[in-house]
């Protein structure tokens, strides 16, 4: 290589003694200065989904954690309880998600100690946005979806970007499989481009939609699969179920 710069082959290599007693000549990969870089982010994959209803909200996320083309775990939960009746589903860099969730849970605990009651979903939504923007110039690599019941008992879903821009939406999907899922939900949930009558949205129907969406996303997205954790939040509490997906 050009990096040899007039040095001989003997000068570019060394003799190394092997453990079997023999010796071999080992070559350096490059003779010149080498730059090393540390990339602080890793993408651990996954898809999350939340659907709001009249008096409930459903949030679902797959349980696969991957890095590059390898699967690191088939059973990592991406659903996190942050308030009394609020769930955070987040895909992206798992370490950033965990750090973010710990921050939120700690802040919520302090709020409960100080005021004697839990934070409302709207307050949590704003706090999450502020927490994300706090790290505007070294962001949390987390694609968040916050789901809970608002002050009127109606389902509320908030969708975020990595630096805290958020909006309340009827449904949201984020993560590596979001493009596969969002148009599907536009069609079956909001009945866009359809003239047939729309049935009322029940928690059971929302769960069916979520399963359908994850099966499709799991087929086409390599980072999505293994299992889906589905949680339904109502005024009576939170119920969870796990639905198996393909493991390929």
């Amino acid at each position: 290589s050009r990096a040899r710069r007039g040095r001989s082959r003997k000068e570019m290599s060394t003799i190394v003694r092997r453990c079997d007693g023999g010796a071999e000549r080992v070559w350096q990969a490059s003779g010149g200065p080498t730059e090393h870089k540390f990339d602080p982010y890793d993408f651990n994959g996954g898809t999350t989904l939340a659907i709001s209803g009249e008096d409930f909200v459903m949030v679902a996320a797959d349980t696969r954690m991957s890095s590059g083309y390898s699967i690191l775990s088939r059973k990592v939960s991406k659903l996190h309880k942050v308030g009394e009746r609020t769930m955070l589903a987040a895909a992206g860099c798992q370490t950033d998600v965990v750090a973010l969730v710990n921050t939120l849970q700690t802040r919520h605990r302090m709020y409960v100690h100080q005021t004697g009651k839990g934070m409302t979903t709207t307050a949590l939504a704003q706090m999450l946005s502020n927490t994300l923007y706090y790290k505007r110039f070294f962001p949390y690599y987390a694609f968040n979806v916050l789901a809970g019941l608002d002050a009127d008992g109606k389902g509320a879903v908030y969708s975020y970007d990595a630096i805290g821009s958020f909006q309340r939406v009827p449904f949201s999907a984020s993560g590596s499989g979001q493009s596969y899922v969002i148009p599907l939900l536009d069609n079956i949930l909001c009945h866009k481009n359809r003239q047939d009558p729309q049935p009322p949205l029940t928690p059971q129907l929302a769960v069916e939609f979520a399963k359908e969406a994850f099966v499709s996303a799991g087929e086409r997205d390599i980072h999505t699969g293994d299992a889906v954790e589905i949680a339904v939040v109502t005024k009576d509490g939170i119920t969870t179920e796990t639905f198996q997906l393909k493991q390929d």
Partner: protein
């Protein structure tokens, strides 16, 4: 020092812009604009789907120059023979060039062979034409949809250098392939009749292009059966 800095940065810019145009992956960078693949310059969304002894091929009709929409009646799906349609997604100039080249080759074939080209043969021809330009390709990702001689569906999707993939359910191409794949994966069922197939492919296309800025602005669907071809335009969002 400052002057040299300017000169070297100008040199750097010139070097980058020389390398910027074309290349196999088609990275195109104009001054002051963000990087975009040349395949996304004009925008497209095409689906081809198989039913029971029928196929359907649908596309949007937008023609744009990056973010600017210029026309909403731009054809991207072309009839090759009574039984075979080709959809071309990608750079509009190459879409039209390839359409003309294919028309030329098919006419010559018909003159020499005194018969029409089969679907499988056409996809093989197209694959060969694209690979001939392996190191300076046409920036199109075509779909071939047709009926074989026995009336059963034939589907083929290709990348810009002609690598074919043959499927029995659906193939998609364009700027919103994740959306299209997600929709088709959930909505497709085997052995759909012509009417069912029309409804399914239309819903898949409309839902997908409504979440993509570069495609939409009208849609057209062709359903090919052994009896003939029905073409319909869809009423969708014009944005």
């Amino acid at each position: 020092g400052a002057q040299r800095g300017e000169e070297s940065s100008a040199r750097l810019h010139r070097r980058r812009s020389k390398k910027g145009a074309g290349g196999l992956c088609g990275r195109a960078r104009l001054e002051g604009e963000s990087e975009m693949s040349i395949l996304e310059h004009n925008g497209a969304a095409i689906i081809a789907m198989a039913g029971k002894n029928c196929v359907a091929i649908a596309s949007d009709t937008r023609f744009g120059l990056r973010q600017q929409t210029v026309a909403c009646d731009f054809e991207k799906v072309f009839k090759m023979t009574n039984r075979v349609f080709v959809g071309l997604a990608g750079l509009a100039t190459d879409v039209q060039t390839l359409r003309n080249l294919l028309k030329f080759r098919l006419s010559l074939y018909a003159l020499r062979e005194e018969r029409e080209m089969k679907a499988e043969t056409l996809s093989s021809l197209l694959s060969h034409m694209l690979y001939e330009k392996r190191f300076g390709p046409y920036f199109v990702e075509p779909l071939v949809a047709g009926l074989k001689d026995d009336g059963t569906p034939f589907l083929c999707g290709m990348d810009l250098i002609g690598a074919p993939v043959y499927t029995s359910d659906f193939v998609v191409s364009g700027t919103c392939t994740p959306n299209l794949n997600g929709m088709c994966e959930s909505m497709w069922r085997p052995d759909m009749g012509a009417d069912d197939l029309f409804e399914t492919i239309s819903q898949c296309l409309l839902a997908s292009v409504d979440r993509d800025a570069m495609s939409g602005w009208g849609a057209i669907v062709h359903v090919i059966t052994p009896e003939g071809v029905t073409s319909k335009r869809l009423k969708g969002r014009m944005d």
